[in-house]
Symmetry: C2
């Protein structure tokens, strides 16, 4: 099967985790009814983006994998015959929490999970407090509708992550994301910040000749008070040359659908044969922190 | 010195190497007079883009480094007090030719050279016939006006190359380039092709929080007959978040000037600390060709 329809669930979140999950399950079913074959949630769709403060109480938002959310999405996957990528706050054991994406095949089987490898820590994005850096490495899974990889938010800034996932045969890279503007910075810096975000992800499609799907939330959230974050939405799907195939708005809840042709990968990669010419004899330094001089 | 003016020399080439060199020397002096501190030529400015066919006679276009071109540009550098990056067809010894960039400091000293590491081979871009893959590795040099790295054309598609150059402290990545459209494909594929080229290079600025300067030629050349190539110009300078700071047209000869603030690197990199969070424990696979499954 070459033509596959992706469904990206872009929405706002309330303070009620059960309501957020119910909403996302409903959106997933609706996306399936509209023809989506592979559905991806936004990052941590079960809650507001709680990393705006370092608060021990937020650990209660976590759940196990498998757990109640994966079970609920497995049921949707099975009943609707769709692949689902679900981004969850994972409690692995006491004191060990991860930012994790679960991958569910169209028969409802939980294929596995990916634990976010790159963890940010910046004002209002205090993720290093909550999330232990992933130890899954970069992964890809063969699903009913194609071989897919998942990376999560901050991972999107790392060409290494995209490359290593594509090198495992991923035809589509999914990026569940929660990113937005500090409201006070938006007027001055907002366009460049959003531009950088879109460019770097489109570049992963270019460099690897694969599809990229980024799923971001909308709405302004202030779980820790203050100005909060204005999430910039604008979920998108990029083609194998980085072109924008579909893009959602900045404020609206939206099921973004995009049909992609997996046969394109070989066409793009033979016409622009970047994988052929990688200088793997000269890349050793990439696993160094910096190549200090003198 | 934090503020530095880059001068990118975008022009057409004739069939006369001496005339092309003279023209480029003149443009370099003119760029210096207009305030450029670091000047970069387009790829292989001494000739038409001869790789449109595999023709032994073209090896006669090559020269040694140091050689007549580096000497001429060293003189300009010394007299005008500018740094120059010059892209040359290098004859290293009998039967060993490279696509090489020479880096000249503002006192006229030849600091060294970089030999193109990634070599393309596609219809009308038969570079593997002419250019031995570089053995310099990825490099950076401290010049009077900042620490710079040089990569050449096809290298631009490889995030690994940009990363390894930035990891040596390069604040600006220069990309002498010769890229254009097959005239028959332009209407259908041209926009996506050019878009991919711009995105991937802007992404190197984003990923590494550094400046990127891409220098491409203009004009239609048919040294091997046929439809030839329509070079798409559009040389540009990208800022540390990938934003376009300056951009030349698609058809016109142009000295593109852009002032950049090297103090921006630390600001960008502390606010978007991608280098801090690289997972160097998990990147070993990057020096593999593919991570075959099963």
């Amino acid at each position: 099967m070459a033509s596959v329809t992706l469904g990206l669930l872009q929405h706002a979140c309330s303070r009620d985790p059960a309501a957020n999950r119910e909403k996302t399950l409903t959106l997933a079913r609706r996306a399936a009814k509209r023809g989506a074959n592979i559905i991806c949630t936004q990052e941590l769709f079960c809650s507001e983006y709680f990393c705006q403060s370092e608060d021990y109480a937020n650990f209660q938002l976590a759940e196990t994998i498998p757990g109640p959310s994966t079970e609920a999405f497995q049921q949707v996957a099975r009943e609707e015959g769709v692949v689902i990528v679900a981004s969850l706050f994972e409690r692995r054991t006491a004191g060990l929490y991860h930012n994790t994406a679960a991958v569910i095949d169209a028969d409802g089987k939980l294929l596995g999970s990916y634990r976010k490898m790159h963890i940010p820590d910046d004002p209002l994005f205090y993720e290093k407090f909550y999330f232990t850096p992933g130890d899954t490495g970069f992964r890809a899974w063969t699903t009913k509708f194609g071989r897919i990889g998942v990376l999560i938010c901050w991972d999107q800034w790392y060409p290494e992550a995209a490359r290593l996932t594509a090198m495992q045969g991923a035809e589509i890279l999914f990026y569940p994301t929660a990113i937005g503007w500090h409201p006070r910075e938006k007027a001055k810096l907002g366009a460049d910040q959003h531009g950088a975000w879109e460019i770097i992800q489109r570049s992963h499609a270019v460099a690897n000749g694969c599809y990229v799907a980024a799923v971001n939330r909308v709405g302004r959230e202030k779980p820790a008070g203050g100005d909060g974050i204005e999430f910039w939405g604008q979920s998108f799907v990029a083609g194998t040359q980085g072109q924008i195939l579909a893009k959602a708005g900045a404020k609206k809840e939206e099921i973004l659908l995009a049909s992609v042709d997996l046969g394109k990968l070989d066409d793009t990669r033979t016409h622009w044969p970047f994988l052929r010419d990688r200088r793997i004899d000269a890349y050793d330094g990439l696993n160094r922190r910096f190549l200090d001089q003198g």
